[in-house]
Symmetry: C2
Subunit: 454 residues, 2 copies
């Protein structure tokens, strides 16, 4: 709710949420749509959605005035649709589809980028209508023609799992095997990089861009990063880079986004808009909202026009187990008894596990491998590469117990890859070979300079 003072001003001018208004404050005049007040922040600020898609907060004081705008909506409007905003039905969606622009498909899966404040709980909930947030970004329609807009499901990303990855991979392949130039997937940020990795493996020999984006602030709030991320994603989706890539803010300014390979990216901060960082690799490119695209990593896959076939398989019975001082390796035995068929052990440093004889990771892993259950070891350091040879204890783990060193793969990526590989083969030698083979950019043959803390 707005403050009583603001509410009085609104009531006297007969303005309700969603209405087009003029706000005069501090000698300036702002025009836009009145948004609901976010649950945090100054209740004496009015939140206005400007025609450029940005939300701003304007502090209202004695000298300020609020009135209904005499203007109609912007001229570009070609389609209009009713939808729910909060509890109020409003005709806010005014988007134009230009058939001259390159066609793309957009797939909405939910998450913050498609969220709004939920006035029942005070928290943020997923929006029911994926088109709702599109209204925030009218610029999008100057770049691409969103020919197909689909919503296979609407989930916050913490609730996505491998069945969603499979559904997405199939849907993306269908969209790519048409005249679309590329696909944009909007996604909650928390597991966005898990999905990016899954699609990287499930869409082999990709020949068009598949851009996954999200936002760290819901798009009905001031200073949401959704707008710029969507604009940059649309440039990336029609670019020459035929990879599954994540497109998010490159820094805390709204100047450019980073395009990052789907198997070499990770959410590294809970709230910052530049939370997604490339890991053990350079970003593929920097993308500016203007359309400028600067290649950083020349080893990207180029666009071509052939068809793609999704390899959308996943063995669900795979788990990540963390190894640390005092950790309990019998979790592996418990999960084996529950039918688990493969493990990623998130180990220490170069790929260590505790070797204490009371809690013997190495003996348990040896037995699992003997039982045909692969154990891949990654490092909780995030950056760097497993080295199965340097230390005596490492030689025991990798040569005696026959764990598979995870090279420079992220734990998340090794997990997704192992689930994918296990759905394709049960042969231990083949599993080992595939896990040690670079399939989708997930293993860099040599350490990439300047990639640490990029």
């Amino acid at each position: 709710m707005y403050s009583l003072g603001i509410q009085k001003l609104l009531d006297s001018a007969e303005i309700s949420i969603g209405g087009r208004i003029l706000v005069k404050a501090k000698g300036k005049v702002y025009e836009g749509l009145l948004m609901p007040r976010p649950d945090i922040g100054d209740s004496n600020c009015i939140v206005l959605k400007l025609d450029n898609g940005y939300n701003i907060g304007i502090r209202i004081d004695r000298g300020s005035a609020i009135e209904k705008s005499g203007h109609k909506e912007p001229k570009t409007v070609k389609e209009e649709e009713e939808f729910e905003l909060g509890k109020i039905k409003k005709s806010l969606l005014k988007v134009s589809f230009d058939p001259e622009k390159p066609p793309i498909a957009m797939i909405s899966t939910g998450g913050t980028v498609a969220s709004r404040v939920d006035y029942q709980t005070g928290g943020v909930s997923a929006m029911m209508d994926p088109k709702e947030f599109l209204h925030n970004v009218p610029e999008l329609f100057n770049i691409v023609n969103i020919k197909n807009f689909s919503k296979p499901f609407t989930k916050m990303s913490e609730d996505m799992d491998s069945s969603d990855w499979i559904a997405l991979a199939k849907l993306v392949a269908k969209e790519l095997n048409s005249d679309n130039k590329g696909v944009i997937i909007t996604h909650g940020t928390d597991t966005l990089h898990y999905t990016a990795a899954a699609l990287s493996f499930m869409l082999p020999n990709l020949l068009k861009p598949v851009i996954i984006m999200g936002s760290q602030k819901s798009s009905d709030r001031p200073s949401s990063d959704a707008v710029m991320n969507l604009i940059c994603s649309s440039h990336a989706a029609v670019s020459d880079i035929a990879e599954v890539a994540v497109c998010m803010h490159g820094n805390m300014n709204d100047d450019y986004c980073l395009l990052m390979r789907g198997t070499k990216v990770r959410k590294m901060h809970t709230v910052r808009r530049d939370a997604f960082r490339p890991i053990n690799d350079l970003p593929l490119a920097k993308v500016w909202p203007s359309g400028k695209l600067e290649i950083v990593n020349k080893s990207y896959r180029k666009r071509s026009d052939q068809k793609i076939k999704a390899d959308a398989v996943f063995e669900e019975k795979v788990a990540i187990v963390k190894a640390y001082p005092g950790s309990e390796p019998s979790i592996l035995e418990y999960l084996q008894a529950k039918g688990y068929r493969g493990f990623v052990v998130e180990g220490l440093g170069l790929g260590h596990v505790p070797t204490d004889s009371r809690k013997s990771w190495i003996e348990i892993i040896k037995k699992l491998v003997k039982d045909g259950i692969p154990v891949v070891v990654t490092s909780q350091t995030i950056y760097g590469r497993i080295n199965p040879n340097t230390y005596t204890n490492l030689r025991r783990l990798y040569h005696y117990a026959r764990a598979i060193p995870g090279e420079d793969m992220l734990t998340e990526v090794a997990y997704v890859k192992l689930g994918h590989v296990l759905a394709k083969t049960k042969d231990m030698d083949e599993i080992r070979r595939l896990m040690l083979t670079n399939m989708a950019g997930e293993i860099t043959p040599r350490t990439v300079p300047d990639a640490f803390l990029y």
Copy 2:
């Protein structure tokens, strides 16, 4: 082994490993002790330990000459001791103890900093004698007087657990309650930050520096970082900063070390010498080998001369369990049945867990809390802070199921803290209060600017 060519030169000059020699190569003359060849690298390079403590590799070609040095050892030698280097007994340890220098205690626990190449396995093993690596750093004795040198155990750090933390905390308290100005602990790097966190909680109201250091390359190898880390640690140990702090390379150059608070530091790379980074906080200081110390974070605890009492308790039955797409929350029930008394769930983003009804993290956590078992949630993003309010699903986890939000604590730190707290109280309200209270710098009240990817 050195190459046949080099070995012939050595044999003809009657030089064996550990001998003091002159090497003439490329118009320069180098003097130092002949080291064993590392298991990797050019077999035509001779590895020489210079009198300044650094190891260098010198390529030997046709124009080179190797001969015994006519010089005796450096003049500062006051004590001599025989010890094993590889299989060869050599009198290499020539260290001087200067009673005029400020007294400190040094505690060696093993790890790479006290490692050497094991010619049996080809890997690296811990050295048996902690004094061995001291020979690498004669400069140390110009800074401090190592009054007490102890070795409570010799372990690679992957094998350390809470019983070692307890032993260390008691030993450190004893050393601090003497005329020592501070303590240096040498430690393997893989779990160094777990130990740093444990000592931070077990040594409350610390009034002297406790500096923990390690090295990423074993100290008998060329370009080891052990030397500079030890020198900077000795400066830090006699400084004004009365904290448990990690002292390791600040960047890839050998110019300065970062001194980082023990609860706000993490190993972030498998091999880089600058792998240890401050997380969600600035480093306490930069320390140069020259002794220059630049305070970066002014909120450090100052030195004073009072006694300290170790609070060296830990409940072993605490575990970290990772939450991710498809993860299995029944691991919590399995561990509860095994007698576990507390959990840190390494969650997603702002502190999410999957809410899928088939695998209901939230219901299981609610039941655990009802059973008196605290569940603290941290974020696998590493950087940032848990927010228990933003999203509807978060409100369910923290308000309905009553999980404890881990604030901006690292997973490792929350784990160590929970084990420490559980050893002190079984009262759930008190556990919650303590976990949400900043005890040792582990919770920063406000987000620290410029700390991301420092």
